[in-house]
Symmetry: D2
Subunit: 285 residues, 4 copies
């Protein structure tokens, strides 16, 4: 039996009389196997979780949600910062929208060599590519969450021996002015904690990272500032936000620092009167 | 043995030469038993999760994290939108900061009466109070996440019988121009889905909500627009963001819509060049 | 208009021909404000998340889910290990079941005094009361998750200075042979890490906990064994499971140890051929 | 500079005098890119999260955590139910243990064809392989979590039109007596809800699934029983546990059912006196 599509009403395309455009409408939390292209020669296989949104005109009742998924299914599945704008333009075109945003979140893996033994192992990072299209304008954002060790300068200074330390997350969202490898941004952040993390550490390595962290104490404030200094000096990076969260080993709460920067004078004015945003900085879930 | 505090170095107060102020530094994910004052005569006991942040001057190495907790411990523990600014001023004063933000997230409970039987039961909502102090300026935000039933207009129209429906989250963050009860904002949002939720539904109630949802189909777009229309007509509410997420019963992903509004013309300009933000709309965790 | 309940079919009570009893059927993830009675004189207000289940006979189609919520709504809302069996019997009675289980999970708060300054502050713990009724038999379980500091003995021994440390979760589930205060079980576990946690630590306190943890290094294995030794010597505790998870500060994964004990010889035999269980030990979510 | 490993003390290998064996010690929440071999000809790339544990003898202080990671790093990275026992034996051998457990959790993807249009799209499932080695005995478990639509028989029967429905999770853990494809277990569970899920549904498909679910109403009890019946008749499956959770569209809590089966008479006796377990059924986090 052939079912004629034309005979089934298209409810989404009905007119809407409320005269309110919708800033973002689409789908989220949809997962696909993906391949990521970055500096390293080979593509990396991982799993992407997508959010895909368009602006909806005030006179249309609804968007066509299945088309977002169709774009994903028809896509060859290889993603990079260089090609993400094409994906966003394809979504905008398919949905007939002027404004469009696509985000893809995924675990990303890098080989680490233990600092003394040189033993290699695979460390995981959370990465998000996000691109926003507004007419002809494209804004590309890269977010990486990098786990590091942080060791408390106060604890070290005031104690006769030892110093509390813990795992910390250094997270940066940067707008790209020029191309930037994911690997490079991760490496930049890893370098700013008291010490990097490694999945495998043999005993000489463990001795090394223990002493290195002790020799290199840092508050959340220190890590955030050192990242911001590096970003300010990096021509590839425009506006940015860096946050540092210490999962304190001596408390049951986190220490947190955040710096937003890279803005020109006009942007500073905008910041002062920024629109409502749900900060999401309180760990609520 | 008396330990003399003066003899222990205050590392946080050391000067910093990087000449970078920190936008927000403080603590997060700290929990306390709290009481919430709202419209109802009696206070409500619940558990608050706090984020507390100050701006740090460019010439100081670190903030004094323990003072944030001290403010919480010394506080009588009764919170409301009316008294939250006092808390923020106290934090700013104690930390010696010009700018300060405090967020408190908590489950909030309201009595619901089943629509036919009238049986009462207790429904839970996620609520966040957030106040930002900048010099003499105070911005107060209230966020509520309201679970509702949504029933798909397309599914209803094209099917001979039945219609897919699901639990949805309608979440609004509003800046308060005039006082607004948490209860009122929740009730406003509950009214905009296809049907409200109830912990207890007797059989006549279940018949009622089933038929009511079928009589009142709504896309995520419809719910977002109906909330925005109500906000635009409400003088207590300034700038706002409303999001609707359907945990689709026919897919393994969500449908999503978002409207940001309540801005004057200048704000619109800001929106166009808004600073970097981590949207957090992709379900990343 | 009066709707006559008798006129509405009771689908759940229909007969079922598949001849399969259901081990556990009910509701979960329902939240209510609750009060907890424990050793301290005053009741503690918090928020409980319940799971409530009964066994269903092979010849009945479904249980009556709304009755679980009714029991909660009619309950005075004050819970303790001593009174939890009454709640379970009430659920069993209302649902007409021989077997019944009720779990209540909640954040629980204790006052901590900083070790040197004596400054008090409020620390949060995750606690679960669970009671299983089978005919006339009652099994009462108490679970507490206690955050502590752990400091690595290997890192300390092999390094010239410093030692990596981190926040750890020590979690114990115990079957009660005699009454046991939540406070006592928490205190027992807190004592077995390298150092306890405190929300407020003044500088002399921070010096103290830093040095104490360094003087008291422990692997996950050490903490698990020290808890098991204490449990084996405690007549209030029957069968138990203790787990320790270190959120390693030098890795992006956890170290983990688990001991199950308190069983007599017959139980040991059971353990060898234990039924299928979803361990939930892999951090899956 | 050569650091001589022999000169660095091996703290883990020190003797322990507490005379307590540790049931499970190891690492968890470590992620790696993996390939899964199943029925389909091609391997599937995804991301695995591992838990790896051994039993520790009573006279040894600690296990060697880095060896677990070494086994993963040296592994070719292709996993299947058929080859998982080799991995577990390798872990046991490397750690010198008699008892060993390895779990790997991963998102798994299957192609779905929409029921009328035939459009294909990719649906994600949560899968866990878990193998336990005890001397020469091997127990292999496969867990799949399958999202489906469930439509309430009561709501349909008592209402003049419509019926509430929602996304549900059908989760089964099975012990394998004979080989079983992941694809087959998923397909078996998908078939037991009111309707399957699809990422892409064109309008004729949406009409089909809406009406199919309405024609096929099922309680959590019905789905659990239908799965259990299928398992009881399947010679590949030994002991099992099936759970069904409805994220109710008319409540803010879940309906839940669980059946444990496939046990012989001896096992039944074990079940009656099962050891303490942390059920994890209360949504605690």
């Amino acid at each position: 039996m052939v079912i004629e599509l034309a005979a089934i009403p298209d409810v989404q395309s009905l007119p809407d009389t409320r005269n309110l455009s919708i800033d973002r409408v689409g789908i989220r939390d949809i997962r696909q196997p993906v391949r990521i292209q970055d500096r390293s020669a080979e593509e990396q296989h991982t799993v992407g979780t997508f959010g895909m949104y368009v602006q909806l005109a005030p006179d249309v009742k609804g968007t066509h949600m299945s088309r977002f998924v169709e774009v994903l299914e028809e896509h060859p599945g290889v993603y990079s910062l260089a090609t993400f704008p094409e994906l966003v333009r394809e979504v905008a075109s398919r949905l007939g929208a002027e404004r469009c945003e696509v985000e893809m979140h995924f675990p990303y893996f890098m080989q680490k060599s233990a600092p003394v033994s040189g033993v290699t192992s695979t460390l995981d990072f959370e990465v998000t590519l996000a691109t926003e299209l507004d007419g002809d304008d494209i804004i590309e954002q890269l977010t990486v969450e990098v786990p590091v060790t942080s060791l408390c300068p106060c604890s070290k200074t005031i104690s006769d021996y030892g110093a509390h330390n813990q795992r910390s997350h250094v997270t940066a969202t940067v707008e790209l002015v020029e191309p930037l490898w994911i690997d490079d941004l991760i490496a930049l952040l890893e370098d700013k904690g008291s010490c990097q993390l490694y999945p495998i550490l043999k005993r000489p390595d463990e001795k090394h990272v223990t002493e290195l962290a002790y020799d290199n104490p840092k508050f959340v404030e220190d890590i955030a500032r050192d990242v911001a200094l590096a970003f300010n000096a990096d021509e590839r990076i425009g506006r940015y936000r860096v946050t540092v969260e210490n999962f304190e080993s001596i408390h049951n709460h986190s220490a947190f620092a955040e710096i937003t920067g890279g803005m020109d004078d006009d942007d500073e004015a905008d910041e002062a009167s920024r629109p409502v945003e749900t900060n999401g900085t309180n760990g609520a879930h």
